[in-house]
C-alpha cells in the first residue's frame, strides 16, 4: 500500500514541476546550446493531432472519394471487405463483442476518438509508403472508414472542422472516462502497479 506521505510527495513533485517551468521561463540557463526552429521546421514535424484538431491541415474528403483509395492502397493488407488479413487488422465489425471473452476491437467497436484515425493514417500508412498520402486523401480515407463503421454518412465531408466533432460509439468505454482524471493515479485507486 502507498502511504499518504508518498501521496503528498507526489503532489508536491507535481506542484514543483509545474511551478519550475514558469519560474525558469525568464532566461535559458545554458548559453549557446540549441537554436530556435523556423516555423517551416516546426510545421514539417508538427503532425500529432490533438482531440480539438488544431493541428489538422486544410483539406477535406468524403467516403465516396475514399473508397477507390482504400481499394488501391489499403485493401491488400486490410482486405477488400475491411475484415483484415495476416498483414493488417480488421477495420470494421466487432460491435457488441467488447464485453465478451473474445473482444474484436475495431474503429467502430472500440476506438474512442476519430482524430486518432486521421493521425495514424497520416503518420504510418500505407506501410512502406508512410507519408505518401496528401491531406485530402487522408480525410477521404478517414471518412471512408467512419462510413463503413456506420458512424457518418457516405457523403459527409471530413475536414479540420468536422472531424473533431465526430462522436465515436465507444468513447465512454475507457476508464477513467474524463481525460482530466487520467494523471491522478492515486485518486484512480491504482495499486500493485495496476489501475482498476
Amino acid at each position: 500500500m502507498r502511504s499518504s506521505r508518498s501521496h503528498l510527495a507526489a503532489l508536491m513533485t507535481l506542484v514543483l514541476a509545474l511551478g519550475c517551468g514558469s519560474a525558469l521561463a525568464q532566461a535559458p540557463r545554458f548559453q549557446g546550446v540549441g537554436r530556435a526552429p523556423t516555423q517551416q521546421e516546426i510545421n514539417a514535424w508538427d503532425i500529432a493531432i490533438s482531440l480539438d484538431g488544431k493541428e489538422l491541415p486544410p483539406g477535406s474528403g468524403n467516403a465516396q472519394q475514399g473508397a477507390p483509395l482504400f481499394a488501391a492502397k489499403c485493401a491488400v493488407c486490410h482486405g477488400r471487405d475491411l475484415a483484415g488479413t495476416a498483414h493488417g487488422p480488421a477495420l470494421t465489425g466487432g460491435t457488441g463483442t467488447i464485453n465478451t471473452a473474445r473482444p474484436k476491437k475495431t474503429i467502430g467497436s472500440y476506438w474512442p476518438f476519430a482524430t486518432s484515425i486521421w493521425d495514424y493514417i497520416n503518420r504510418a500508412m500505407p506501410r512502406y509508403q508512410e507519408g505518401s498520402l496528401t491531406a485530402d486523401q487522408v480525410y477521404a480515407l478517414t471518412a471512408f472508414l467512419l462510413f463503413r463503421n456506420e458512424i457518418i454518412g457516405e457523403n459527409e465531408v471530413m475536414s479540420a472542422q468536422s472531424l473533431p466533432q465526430v462522436q465515436m460509439p465507444n468513447r465512454d468505454g475507457f476508464t477513467p472516462v474524463r481525460i482530466e482524471d487520467i494523471p491522478d493515479t492515486v485518486k484512480r485507486g491504482c495499486k500493485f502497479g495496476t489501475c482498476p
Binding site: 513533485t13 509545474l18 519550475c20 546550446v33 508538427d46 500529432a48 486518432s116 493515479t185 489501475c195
Partner: protein, 436 residues
C-alpha cells in the same frame, strides 16, 4: 566458410566431446583441457570489439516464436524479441540481449550528425538541439529497467503453439523476457524543458520518434519534469539501433511504450493526444468491457530465473535459488522465496547497492531433497507495495485469472505482475506452474 559457420561447426563437434567428458567425470592433464586457439581462429573481431565465447549461445527469441526471418510468404515477421533472463547474471542486461518491441518497424539507420531533437509547443523558446549539443549539457547515469506493459501477460493469443505463457513448457524468457535493465546515460528531460521554458498551461508532453511509423506517446508533465531522461548511452556505449540510436526517451518505472526510441520531438501540450497505440492498443480490457487506459507505472514484480522453466536439475543437493525483482514505484526493499508453493516464505538475500526502478538480484541457498517442490518469489518495494498473488491480482482487476478462463478468453491482461511459481519435479525437470 566464414567465421560464424566455422565456429558453429567446431562448437557442435567439441561440445559433444565435452559432454562426453562431463558424463564420464574424467579429468585429463591440465595441458589437454584447454586447446590453443589455432592461428586462423583468432579473428580481429576478438580484439577490435570483442565477441563472446563460442560456447555461449544464448539469444533473444521472437515474441511470436519466430525470429523475424521466416521466409514463407504470408507469415508476418516478428518485431518483438525477448531477453533470455535465465542466462543473465547480475542486474545488467547486455545491450545485445535487451528486449525489443518496435511496433512493426526495423530500426532506422540514423546518422547522429544529422539527427535533431526539437522541443516546442507550450514553451517560451522552441529549441532544436543537435546531438553534439546534447552531449554538452549536464548528464546523469542511472540504472533502470524497461519493461513492456504486456510482459508476462497471461493471454495465449500472442504465442506460437507450445510457447504459450500459461503452459508447463514456458521458460522465464517466454514468461518474463520483456523486461531488461541497463545503466543509462543522458540528459534529464527537465534540463531541456527548463531551457525552453514550459508555460503554465503545459500539462502533458507528446514524445515522437523518427522511425517510419513515428511512434508517439503522451506523458504527463509531472513525469517529464521528474526523472525522465533523454538518453544516448547504454551500459557504457552508445545505445544500439534497435534501442533507439542515437536518442531515446527513458521514463523510469513507466510501461515500455513511453520510452520513445529514435526520439526527435517533444511537444509540450495541454492534453493527451490519444495516439493510436495509447488510445486503442495499450488500454487493458476488463471483463465488463471497460478498458483501463494510461496505467503508466509498473508494479512490484519478481521472478526466479534459476532454477526456472525448462531447466534440468542434476539431482538432489545444494542449489542457489536466484532471480530478479523490480518495481516502477521505487527501490526493492525485500524479496521472499517459498519452496513449498507459498505456504512458507523466507527472506532472500538482496544484492546491493539497490537502485530505484531497476532490476535487483536476489539469492537464497536451497538444499533440494529430491521431492516435488514449487518455488516462487515475491517482492516488496520501498513504498511498501507487495507483489500480488494471481488470485489477488485477479480480484483487483475483476478478472477470474485461471487456465480455464483463458482457454475461453482472449483478453490481454497488461501490467501482469503476479507471483510466478515454478514446479521442480522429481526427475529434476522444472516447469511453469502459473495456474497449477
Amino acid at each position: 566458410m566464414n567465421f560464424q559457420q566455422s565456429n558453429r561447426r567446431r562448437f557442435l563437434k567439441e561440445s559433444a566431446a565435452l559432454a562426453g567428458l562431463a558424463s564420464a567425470g574424467v579429468i585429463y592433464p591440465a595441458g589437454a583441457q584447454t586447446p590453443e586457439p589455432a592461428g586462423d581462429r583468432r579473428p580481429d573481431e576478438w580484439y577490435d570489439y570483442g565477441v563472446r565465447s563460442r560456447f555461449v549461445q544464448s539469444i533473444r527469441s521472437g515474441t511470436n516464436g519466430r525470429h523475424g526471418r521466416d521466409p514463407r510468404p504470408g507469415v508476418p515477421r516478428d518485431y518483438g524479441f525477448r531477453t533470455p533472463l535465465q542466462d543473465v547474471y547480475g542486474t545488467i542486461t547486455p545491450a545485445s540481449l535487451h528486449f525489443i518491441i518496435n511496433h512493426g518497424y526495423d530500426p532506422p539507420d540514423i546518422n547522429p550528425a544529422e539527427h535533431r531533437l526539437m522541443i516546442h509547443g507550450l514553451v517560451d523558446r522552441p529549441l532544436i538541439f543537435t546531438f553534439d549539443e546534447l552531449l554538452r549539457l549536464p548528464s546523469v547515469t542511472r540504472m533502470h529497467f524497461v519493461e513492456c506493459a504486456g510482459n508476462s501477460t497471461v493471454t495465449d493469443s500472442s504465442f506460437a503453439p507450445g510457447q504459450a505463457r500459461m503452459l508447463p513448457p514456458a521458460t522465464v524468457q517466454v514468461t518474463h523476457g520483456l523486461t531488461s535493465c541497463s545503466e543509462w546515460t543522458g540528459v534529464p528531460l527537465s534540463v531541456l524543458l527548463e531551457q525552453a521554458g514550459v508555460k503554465r498551461e503545459g500539462t502533458w508532453i507528446v514524445a515522437e520518434g523518427a522511425e517510419q511509423g513515428m511512434h508517439m506517446k503522451s506523458i504527463p508533465i509531472a513525469k517529464a519534469m521528474d526523472d525522465t531522461l533523454v538518453v544516448y548511452g547504454q551500459n557504457g556505449e552508445p545505445i544500439r539501433p534497435e534501442q533507439g540510436y542515437p536518442l531515446r526517451l527513458l521514463t523510469p518505472g513507466y510501461e515500455g511504450i513511453n520510452n520513445v526510441k529514435w526520439l526527435r520531438r517533444v511537444k509540450v501540450v495541454d492534453q493527451p493526444y490519444m495516439g493510436m497505440r495509447e488510445s486503442t492498443k495499450y488500454p487493458s480490457l476488463r471483463a465488463d468491457g471497460k478498458a483501463r487506459w494510461f496505467q503508466f507505472e509498473l508494479g512490484p514484480k519478481s521472478v526466479i530465473t534459476r532454477p526456472s522453466g525448462g531447466q534440468q536439475m542434476a539431482g538432489p543437493g545444494f542449489y542457489e535459488i536466484t532471480g530478479l525483482a523490480w518495481s516502477g514505484g521505487g527501490a526493492i526493499r525485500k524479496v521472499e522465496v517459498s519452496t513449498d508453493g507459498g505456504r512458507n516464505w523466507k527472506e532472500a538475500e538482496v544484492q546491493g547497492p539497490v537502485s530505484r526502478k531497476a532490476h535487483t538480484r536476489f539469492r537464497m541457498a536451497w538444499n533440494w531433497n529430491g521431492s516435488e517442490a514449487v518455488i516462487q518469489s515475491r517482492c516488496t518495494d520501498d513504498r511498501g507495495d507487495l507483489q500480488p498473488s494471481t488470485a489477488e491480482l485477479g480480484k483487483f482487476i475483476k478478472i477470474p485469472l485461471s487456465l480455464d478462463y483463458f482457454k475461453e478468453s482472449s483478453l490481454n491482461i497488461s501490467h501482469f505482475n503476479a507471483i510466478q511459481p515454478w514446479r521442480v519435479k522429481r526427475d529434476g525437470s522444472v516447469e511453469n506452474a502459473i495456474f497449477a
